[in-house]
């Protein structure tokens, strides 16, 4: 906050012309828009914003004090905006929280600028030219900015998600680093346009960027919609029995909760619900007299049942939007001791996601859900504690121990069973 005040004072101290006020305003709007319109990358769970390149260009075009003032104000407004659009009300504490968030930005902007000048960088509007030296200084600027930002941000994120630091940092590195490298240079582009053509140059370049952003987002939304539609239809197709509907949804829920508890990678988290809903799709088209048989199965019938994970994987392999879950579906009846089917994989070979689905599936099949109609004809349901005992009994042989531990933690948190 002190920094913000100092920067504001410095900005006001400089001679004010209508041109400079206009450019401050334009960059303010620019950062605001970049922040509230994240770009979704189709087929992943990640969003990115153009905020970084726009802040770089603001800095290059206007200078340290100006970028601090502009960035703080616009990020603060953007924070308020997104909070408001979520909850539709303003409170003082909310504003304070937003301000705290944005003040983190300044903490990283200022040292970054200092480092930039220390490396011989020069602001474009003050005679700086685009040379290798500038690129080098910019690299230092981005490195300092990104590092501090990431440390502050990941600390916040780790606090919010109750996840260990290590995991969050690893996730940010694999996602944000390539991102910075790809979209960072466009910041230099904006700044060059500004220094050559003034504010008009920046305004004109915004239009194609908005079109591009719109198209990318449309692409991502479309992909999500397609994937959801295919998943929903696939799950409905398994409803040949009234109990299946509730079962699939509960398996998806449990699998989702366990996967989050285990900190599986973001893409696994994105698809785990789909996998939970579709895990038994290989049973579609199989004679239901075999599936529901109360007595002992003949060897041929057992063979037929044992094919369902592979059949399901074959079906899903042809569904373009669900590629990652194919091995998960195929492996959901494998056992760590190697006695599962269809491939008899051992503990290291079984995808972790398959193991997650196996536990969720087994638990829900044993307890049979909260309502009578959800219960299976051929089996008396167990109580939650009995089911947990059964799972424990199979730890390391039938079920993956890491998954079971996470499952117990989820159950304890939900207050189900005696944990």
């Amino acid at each position: 906050m002190v920094l913000f005040a100092v920067a504001l004072a410095n900005v006001l101290h400089e001679p004010i012309s209508s041109e400079s006020v206009l450019s401050l305003l334009v960059f303010l709007v620019f950062i605001f828009l970049a922040e509230i319109w994240p770009i979704k990358w189709a087929g992943t769970n990640n969003e990115f914003t153009m905020t970084t390149p726009v802040i770089i260009s603001t800095f290059l075009a206007l200078g340290t004090n100006q970028v601090i003032v502009v960035a703080t104000l616009s990020l603060f407004l953007a924070g308020l905006w997104s909070q408001y659009s979520q909850s539709c009300k303003f409170t003082v504490s909310l504003a304070c929280w937003c301000f705290f968030n944005t003040s983190l930005t300044i903490l990283s902007l200022w040292p970054a600028s200092v480092a930039f000048f220390a490396c011989g960088g020069e602001i474009l509007s003050r005679g700086g030219t685009t040379t290798l030296g500038l690129a080098y200084a910019l690299l230092v600027w981005s490195a300092v900015w990104a590092t501090i930002n990431m440390l502050l941000f990941t600390h916040g994120a780790a606090l919010a998600a109750r996840e260990p630091w290590r995991v969050v940092i690893k996730q940010s590195l694999t996602w944000y680093l390539p991102n910075y490298l790809v979209i960072g240079p466009s910041g230099i582009l904006f700044a060059m346009l500004y220094s050559q053509y003034g504010i008009i140059g920046v305004l004109l370049i915004i239009a194609p960027f908005i079109v591009g952003r719109q198209a990318l987002s449309q692409h991502a939304t479309q992909l999500d919609a397609y994937r959801d539609t295919v998943t929903t239809l696939g799950s409905y197709m398994q409803y040949y029995h009234p109990y299946t509907k509730g079962h699939l949804e509960r398996v998806a829920d449990f699998a989702d909760a366990i996967a989050k508890e285990m900190h599986l990678p973001p893409n696994s988290l994105m698809y785990i619900r789909n996998a939970g809903l579709l895990h038994d799709i290989g049973k579609v088209g199989v004679n239901e007299e075999v599936l529901d048989k109360v007595g002992k199965l003949t060897p041929e019938e057992w063979e037929l049942i044992k094919q369902h994970p592979a059949r399901g994987a074959d079906i899903i392999a042809q569904l373009k939007f669900l590629d990652p879950i194919v091995p998960w579906i195929r492996g959901h009846h494998e056992r760590p001791d190697g006695r599962g089917y269809p491939d008899g994989l051992n503990e290291e070979q079984i995808p972790l996601e398959s193991a997650v689905i196996a536990v969720a599936d087994a638990f829900d099949a044993m307890t049979g859900g909260p309502e009578d109609k959800d219960r299976r004809v051929y089996r008396t349901p167990l109580t939650v504690d009995q089911a947990i005992d059964q799972l424990r009994y199979g730890a390391g042989t039938q079920f993956d121990e890491r998954v079971l531990k996470a499952f117990m933690r989820v159950m304890a948190r939900r207050g189900i069973g005696n944990g």
Binding site: S186, L193, F209, V211, G212, L216, M237, V284
Partner: protein, 220 residues
């Protein structure tokens, strides 16, 4: 100086690149993903077809006839796509019909026939809950209605039956008679045509049958 911007290589290049990325992803999502989506739905439908030994490939062939019919009836592309989706997804409701009934070689009992009839209702219910497939639900529900009102599940008559369902009924009947079923062998083409003509105005919309027979030679 500002006027220079239009000819500035920097500006032109960056605009073109961003617009290019946008255009590419837009076209890609429309065409490529649309195709993948269609293929995915077809895969799901064919997973159900394996249940009824005689019907493998049925949905896909019928979908082809329906598209050709829509073209010759002068329907819009949007409508044609809707009817096409309905064509290959028509029997997904069969998931609710037991294996034994679908593959029975003798006549069905009254009770079994009632269960079989349910596939139209089950299918329509499924689709009515899916946002992007809601609009095909009525076609699925009514694709076993007859022109004279003797069909199921609602006994609709004449033009009360949705157009898509009327087209689908003719195309489905043609394809299923041309192929063998659990309860009867395949019929030859002349017999099929005679049968379709005989049922004009009873089971099928006469105009649709006329159109179908005019272009039927292409389907062989």
């Amino acid at each position: 100086m500002v006027n220079d911007i239009w000819t500035s290589p920097l500006f032109i290049l960056s605009s073109l690149v961003t617009l290019g990325v946008g255009l590419y992803s837009f076209v890609y999502s429309r065409i490529q993903m649309g195709r993948a989506y269609r293929r995915s739905l077809m895969t799901l439908a064919s997973a159900v077809e394996t249940k009824d030994v005689g019907s493998v490939g049925h949905g896909e062939r019928v979908a082809r006839y329906v598209v050709a019919m829509c073209k010759s009836l002068g329907l819009s592309g949007r409508e044609a796509r809707r009817f096409e989706y309905a064509a290959f997804l028509q029997d997904i409701g069969n998931v609710s019909v037991p294996h034994g009934i679908l593959n029975k070689t003798s006549n069905l009992t009254q009770e079994e026939f009632e269960t079989l009839k349910q596939h139209t209702v089950v299918g329509a219910e499924m689709f009515s809950e899916i946002k992007f497939l809601k609009d095909i639900a009525p076609i699925i529900r009514h694709h076993h209605e007859s022109w004279d009102g003797s069909g199921y599940p609602d006994g609709l008559q004449g033009r009360d039956i949705p157009l898509g369902a009327r087209i689908l009924a003719v195309c489905t009947a043609y394809d299923s008679m041309m192929n063998s079923r659990a309860y009867r062998p395949r019929m030859n083409e002349d017999e099929v045509i005679r049968q379709l003509r005989a049922d004009m105005g009873i089971k099928y919309d006469p105009e649709i049958v006329e159109t179908f027979l005019r272009m039927q030679k292409k389907f062989r």
